[in-house]
C-alpha cells in the first residue's frame, strides 16, 4: 500500500535482550540511523523507565514492547520499506567484531598461527610451510583441516606423514604440494625458488624444483608462458604415496581452461603409479608432454602423450604443441663447436660437473653416460655410477652440491657459493680436468647476484690452471629470465666476460661438455638404455 505524504509514518522496533551499551555510543547509533534514507526518526536506548518515557514523548510507537531496563531497544520511524534495513544495520553495528580505528600508534598483534592469519586474510586458500621438518607435517594438517591448500617446502617430513596428509587432502578436494617442494608458480605468483615467467597456456607438474624451473624458464625464453606450475615433492610418485598430488594436479590442469598443454616431469615413477598417471593423462583431452628422466620412451608413448627425453625437449615439445606445430621426436640440436676453445693437455680428459640443482645433475649424468664411460655422480643413473667419495672427483664426476651431505649446517648452494667456489678452484688444479660444467639458477629464493660470487672463483681457477701451464674450459647455462630479480642479461654478460661458454639449457651444456672430451676419454662401448636407479 502506498502511503500518502500526510499519513502517519510507520514504526518498527527491536528489543535486543540484555545488551548493555553506554548512552553516548547509543546516541551515535541513533544519529547514524536517522541519516539512513527513508528513516525520519530513530532511537536506540537502554529500555529504562526514563528512556521509555522519553520515547513516548517523542511519539515513538512502542506499545507491545516488553523491553526492560537491562534490554536495548532500537526503534525507527519512517518509510515502512526502509525500516527493516535500518534495524538490521543497527543490529550489525552492535555485533561488529573489528576494532579498526582504535589502533593509531598501537601495533596490532601479528598472527601466530594459521588460524589467526586466516582471520586476518579470510580469502586465503594456500599455506606455504617452511618450518623445520619435524613440525611441518602438523602445520600442513592444520591448514588442510581449515580447508586450505598446502605448499610444503620443508624436507625431513616422514613418508607416513606425507601419505596421511595427501590422503586427507584428497578426501577434501585439496592439494598438498611437497614435502620438499622447492618450486611452484600459482596464478603467476612465484613460490619459494621460482622464476618470473610470462603467463600463458602451458601447465607444468613436477616432482623436482629445478626441473620445474628449467621448463618454465625455457618456455618463457621461447616466447610462451606458464598457466600454473605445481610441485609435488620428490616422493609423490613412489608406490607408497601413489602419485596423489600428481593426480590432483593433473585433474586441476585438465579442468583449467587457461591450460592448453600439460607437462609432467619426474624421475621414473614406480611402474604401477606411472601406468595410472599416464592413463589419467591420456584422458586429459589436451596434449600431455611427459619427461620421466631416463625412462624408456616406448613405455610412455600413447595417444595424446608426448614423451620427451630431456627437460629442454619437454619445453620445446610443449611450446610447439601450444603453437599448433607438430612436435619433433627429438630436439637434439647439433650445435657447432664454439670457436676459440683453448688447447687441452693430453691428460685433460674429464668433465667435472658442479651442480646446485639436483635434477640438472641427474639429467647431466644421464646424458653424459650415453656417450662416455666412467661417469660418476652422487646422483647416479646406474648403481655402479655412484661416487665413492663425494668430496673427491674421479674421472667424469657430476656432483649435486644440494645433496644433504653438503647442506648440513650451511645454506643451499643456490644461496651460498662458498663450497662450489672452493670446488671450482680444486677441479681446475686437477690436471685431469678438461671441462668444469655448472648451472646458475636465478629467480626468487636464489642468490641476489650469482655472477658476483662465481666470477672471482672462476678467475682464481683459471689462474691455478695457468700456473700449471694448462687451460680449463668452463661450460655453463643460466636458468633464468630477464624479469628475474638478478636479470638474465646482466648475469650472462658477467659470466661470458669471465670466459664461460654459456648454453641455453642444461642438455645443451652437457652435450657441449661431452663433445669437448669425446675422443680424449673412453667412449661408452655401445649406446645402451640407461637403467635408472629405482
Amino acid at each position: 500500500m502506498l502511503e500518502s505524504p500526510h499519513s502517519k509514518p510507520a514504526t518498527l522496533f527491536k528489543v535486543v535482550r540484555r545488551e548493555y551499551r553506554d548512552s553516548v555510543s547509543l546516541m551515535q547509533l541513533s544519529s547514524s540511523l536517522t541519516k539512513m534514507a527513508g528513516v525520519s526518526q530513530a532511537s536506540a536506548v537502554m529500555a529504562t523507565e526514563n528512556n521509555l518515557a522519553l520515547l513516548a514523548e517523542a511519539r515513538f510507537e512502542i506499545s507491545g514492547s516488553d523491553a526492560g531496563a537491562a534490554d536495548l531497544l532500537i526503534v525507527v520511524q519512517g518509510d515502512a520499506a526502509a525500516l527493516p534495513a535500518a534495524i538490521d544495520t543497527a543490529v550489525a553495528h552492535l555485533t561488529r567484531q573489528a576494532d579498526v580505528g582504535s589502533s593509531a600508534g598501537r601495533a596490532a598483534v601479528l598472527p601466530r598461527s594459521i588460524q589467526s592469519a586466516l582471520a586476518d586474510a579470510p580469502s586465503a586458500n594456500l599455506v606455504l610451510v617452511s618450518t623445520p621438518g619435524e613440525y611441518a607435517g602438523a602445520e600442513a594438517m592444520k591448514a588442510l583441516r581449515q580447508g586450505l591448500n598446502v605448499l610444503l617446502f620443508s624436507d625431513n617430513v616422514p613418508e607416513e606423514d606425507e601419505v596421511r596428509l595427501k590422503q586427507f587432502a584428497k578426501e577434501r578436494g585439496l592439494i598438498v604440494m611437497g614435502p620438499d617442494c622447492g618450486t611452484a608458480i600459482i596464478n603467476g605468483i612465484p613460490l619459494c625458488f621460482a622464476n618470473v615467467v610470462k603467463r600463458g597456456a602451458i601447465g607444468v607438474i613436477g616432482a623436482s624444483g629445478t626441473g620445474l624451473q628449467q621448463i618454465t624458464v625455457l618456455v618463457d625464453n621461447l616466447g610462451l608462458g606458464i598457466s600454473q606450475a605445481i610441485g609435488t615433492g620428490g616422493r609423490d610418485l613412489h608406490s607408497n604415496i601413489g602419485g596423489i598430488t600428481f593426480s590432483t594436479a593433473l585433474s586441476d590442469l585438465t579442468a583449467d581452461v587457461d591450460t592448453k598443454v600439460i607437462v609432467l616431469i619426474s624421475k621414473p615413477p614406480a611402474p604401477e603409479v606411472a601406468e595410472r598417471i599416464l592413463s589419467e593423462a591420456a584422458r586429459a583431452g589436451k596434449p600431455v608432454v611427459v619427461n620421466f628422466l631416463g625412462a624408456d620412451r616406448a613405455n610412455i608413448s600413447r595417444p595424446g602423450i608426448y614423451p620427451a627425453k630431456t627437460l629442454e625437449d619437454a619445453a620445446r615439445t610443449a611450446v610447439d604443441l601450444a603453437r599448433g606445430i607438430a612436435p619433433r621426436a627429438s630436439y637434439d640440436l647439433s650445435l657447432p663447436m664454439p670457436s676459440g676453445l683453448p688447447k687441452l693437455a693430453l691428460e685433460q680428459r674429464y668433465v667435472r660437473g658442479l651442480y646446485s640443482g639436483g635434477t640438472f645433475c641427474y639429467e647431466a649424468a644421464m646424458l653424459l653416460d650415453e656417450r662416455l664411460a666412467d661417469v660418476y655422480s652422487n646422483s647416479p643413473v646406474r648403481p655402479d655410477g655412484a661416487m665413492k667419495d663425494v668430496w673427491h672427483s674421479h674421472r667424469h664426476s657430476l656432483i649435486d652440491l644440494g645433496d644433504d651431505v653438503f647442506t648440513r649446517g650451511r645454506p643451499h648452494p643456490m644461496i651460498d657459493f662458498r663450497l662450489r667456489n672452493e670446488r671450482i678452484v680444486g677441479e681446475a688444479e686437477d690436471p685431469e680436468t678438461a671441462v668444469i660444467l655448472f648451472d646458475v639458477v636465478l629467480g626468487f629464493g636464489s642468490h641476489a647476484d650469482p655472477a658476483s660470487e662465481l666470477v672471482p672463483a672462476l678467475r682464481r681457477a683459471g689462474e691455478a690452471a695457468a700456473q700449471a701451464g694448462r687451460s680449463v674450459i668452463f661450460v655453463a647455462f643460466v636458468c633464468g629470465t630477464d624479469r628475474d630479480p638478478q636479470g638474465l642479461a646482466r648475469q650472462t654478460q658477467a659470466l661470458r666476460e669471465a670466459g664461460v661458454h654459456l648454453m641455453q639449457s642444461n642438455a645443451q651444456a652437457v652435450r657441449l661438455a661431452a663433445s669437448i672430451v669425446v675422443g680424449r676419454a673412453p667412449a661408452r662401448a655401445r649406446p645402451r638404455d640407461v637403467r635408472p636407479v629405482a
Binding site: D22, R112, N125, G173, N187
Partner: protein, 490 residues
C-alpha cells in the same frame, strides 16, 4: 575444477582462482618474494607450537578445525554468552552447598591435600576452623586439620569460587548467584577488604571477629535489602563498570559503587536495625573490592553453563591452589590439568619483594576465564601501571587475547577498543597453537600466613596445563570417533 567426494558433494578447488591470499608459515624471504611479485600474503610469526613437543603438536593438528570440536565449542560458547547471572540471595554456605553440611572446608584451585598446601592457605584453613568453633586455639586447629578429621575439597567441585586461599566453611555467608538462562547456581564468599584477611592466611582475633560480623550483621542486612530489591541482574552492572574503568578483577571501584547505588535505596526501606544497616552499607562503601567476589560468582555461573559439553576445547576454569595452577576444559569434565603455580611479576608494597611472595593463588582468575580481568585490561587505564605498563600495553594485552579466544562477548564492550566486546572463551587449541598464554591480573600474597597482600601484578597461565588438556581432549575425541565394537553373539 571439481572433485567427487564420498558424500556425493562436489568440491570446487579455488587454487587457480585469482585474488586469494597466501599464508606464509616459516621463511620470511618467501613472504617478501610473494609480495614483490604482487601477491597478497600474510606472515605467521611462527614458533614451534605446544612449546616444541611434537606429539602434542600432532594432537593439536588433529583437533584443529575438527568438526566435532567446532560444534561443541559453538554450543559451549553460546551457553556462556547466553548466561544471565542474577544475584538472588545471600545466605550461609551450608544452606546451599550440600557438602558443607559436614565438617568440610573448601579451598581455591584444583584439589590439594592438606599436607601439600602453602602457608597462606593453611593459615586461612586454621582461621576457618576457629571461626566455626571446631577448635579453640591455633594449635588445636592445626592439630585437627593434621589429623585429617576435616575434609578439604576444591571450591570448583561445588559451584563455588573464592579469592586467594578461597577457604569456605559452612557458617560463612555467600553470594547466591543464579544463571537465569540455564538455572545453574554459583557461590562466592564476601570480600573482607584489604590488609589482614582470611584469604591471605590471616587468622588473628580481628580477622575472626570480622568474619563473625559479616555472618551476623552484613549477611542479614544484605539479605533483607535483596528481599526488598528483588533479583539483581549482574551482567548489565558489570558491562557498565567496564565502561567506567573496572576490569572486574583488580579494579572493582566502579562496580562496587554501582552495587551500592542499587542497594542503598532498598536498604533504607528495609525493616532492619538502622545502625546495623548503616554499618553494613559503610563497610561496602569503604571497600573498593567489594564487588570482586560477586564478579567471581557471576563469572563462575556463566562458565559453569558452558562446562561439560563433550569434545569442547573451551577453558571453563583456571585457578590456583597456591602450589599448582590448574585448568579445566568444557569437554573433559571434572579433570584438572596442572602445572606448578607461577610467581607473579608485579609491583610490591614498600619493604616487600619477590622473595616474600607466595606462588600465584586463588579462584579469582575465573574472571579472566570469563573474558574479564587481564582480558579486559584495555578498559582499566587506572590500574595499568600497577599491573605492568602503559594504556597502550593494556590495549595490546587485550588484543593479544583475541588470538586465543573463541570470540568477543558483546555484552562486555571496551571503550578503548572502539566498543568491541572483550575477548572471551579461551580455546585451549589456540593457546597451544600460538604459544600465547592467558594473561591474569592478580594480587600477590605474602608467603607466610597472615601477612596479607604485598603487591599486585600480572602472570600467565602455564603452557603445560594446555598441552596436557589437548592431549586428553585428542584422546577423548578419538574415542568418540572410534567405531562401536560389534556386539558379541549371544
Amino acid at each position: 575444477m571439481t572433485y567427487v567426494l564420498s558424500h556425493d558433494e562436489v568440491h570446487v578447488s579455488t587454487l587457480f582462482e585469482p585474488g586469494h591470499a597466501i599464508i606464509n608459515v616459516g621463511l620470511s624471504a618467501f613472504r617478501d618474494a610473494i609480495a614483490q611479485a604482487g601477491g597478497s600474503v600474510v606472515q605467521v610469526e611462527w614458533a614451534p607450537p605446544a612449546g616444541g613437543d611434537r606429539a602434542t603438536g600432532w594432537d593439536l593438528a588433529r583437533l584443529t578445525g575438527h568438526p566435532a570440536v567446532e560444534r561443541a565449542n559453538a554450543i559451549a560458547y553460546a551457553n556462556y554468552l547466553a548466561a544471565q547471572p542474577m544475584l538472588i540471595d545471600v545466605d550461609l554456605a551450608r544452606n546451599h552447598i550440600p557438602v558443607l553440611r559436614d565438617r568440610v572446608l573448601l579451598h581455591a584451585g584444583p584439589p590439594i591435600s592438606w599436607e601439600e598446601t602453602c602457608g597462606p592457605m593453611q593459615g586461612a584453613a586454621i582461621g576457618a576452623v576457629l571461626f566455626e568453633g571446631w577448635a579453640a586455639s591455633v594449635a588445636a586447629a592445626r592439630k585437627l586439620l593434621d589429623s585429617g578429621a576435616i575434609a578439604f575439597e576444591s571450591t570448583h567441585d561445588h559451584a563455588t569460587v573464592g579469592p586467594m586461599a578461597g577457604v569456605v566453611s559452612p557458617s560463612m555467608p555467600v553470594w547466591v548467584v543464579e544463571n537465569a538462562s540455564a538455572g545453574n547456581r554459583a557461590y562466592c564468599t564476601f570480600n573482607e577488604g584489604l590488609g589482614k584477611a582470611l584469604r591471605f592466611g590471616a587468622n588473628s582475633t580481628e580477622v575472626i571477629k570480622r568474619l563473625q560480623w559479616m555472618a551476623a550483621v552484613l549477611a542479614p542486612a544484605l539479605k533483607a535489602t535483596l528481599t526488598k530489591l528483588g533479583p539483581l541482574e549482574l551482567k548489565p552492572m558489570m558491562a557498565q563498570a567496564l565502561q567506567m574503568g573496572d576490569e572486574l578483577h583488580n579494579r572493582n571501584a566502579a562496580a562496587s559503587s554501582l552495587l551500592l547505588k542499587k542497594l542503598v535505596p532498598a536498604a533504607l526501606r528495609c525493616k532492619f536495625d538502622q545502625t546495623k544497616m548503616a554499618d553494613a552499607m559503610t563497610a561496602i562503601a569503604n571497600n573498593d573490592h567489594f564487588f570482586l567476589n560477586l564478579s567471581m560468582a557471576a563469572c563462575k555461573a556463566m562458565l559453569d553453563s558452558a562446562h561439560n559439553v563433550p569434545n569442547s576445547s573451551m577453558v571453563t576454569a583456571m585457578s590456583r591452589n597456591g602450589v599448582r595452577f590448574g585448568i579445566r576444559l568444557s569437554g573433559t569434565g571434572a579433570r584438572w590439568f596442572e602445572a606448578a603455580a607461577p610467581i607473579v611479576h608485579g609491583l610490591y608494597f614498600p619493604t616487600y619483594g619477590p622473595e616474600h611472595a607466595a606462588p600465584d593463588m586463588g579462584d579469582s582468575s575465573i574472571t579472566e576465564t570469563a573474558g574479564l580481568g587481564g582480558f579486559a585490561m584495555a578498559t582499566a587505564p587506572a590500574i595499568v601501571q600497577f599491573v605492568g605498563g602503559t594504556p597502550d600495553d593494556a590495549i595490546a594485552n587485550t588484543r593479544e587475547m583475541t588470538h586465543i579466544t573463541l570470540g568477543r562477548n558483546n555484552a562486555f564492550t571496551l571503550p578503548a577498543m572502539n566498543f568491541t566486546g572483550t575477548p572471551a572463551g579461551i580455546d585451549a587449541r589456540k593457546v597451544l597453537d600460538t604459544n600465547i598464554l592467558p594473561i591474569i591480573n592478580t594480587g600477590i600474597a605474602h608467603r607466610e600466613a597472615g601477612v596479607g597482600q604485598i603487591g599486585a601484578g600480572i602472570t600467565r597461565a602455564p603452557l603445560e596445563c594446555f598441552a596436557q588438556a589437548i592431549v586428553a581432549l585428542a584422546s577423548s575425541v578419538a574415542q568418540s570417533e572410534a567405531p562401536v565394537p560389534a556386539e558379541s553373539a549371544a
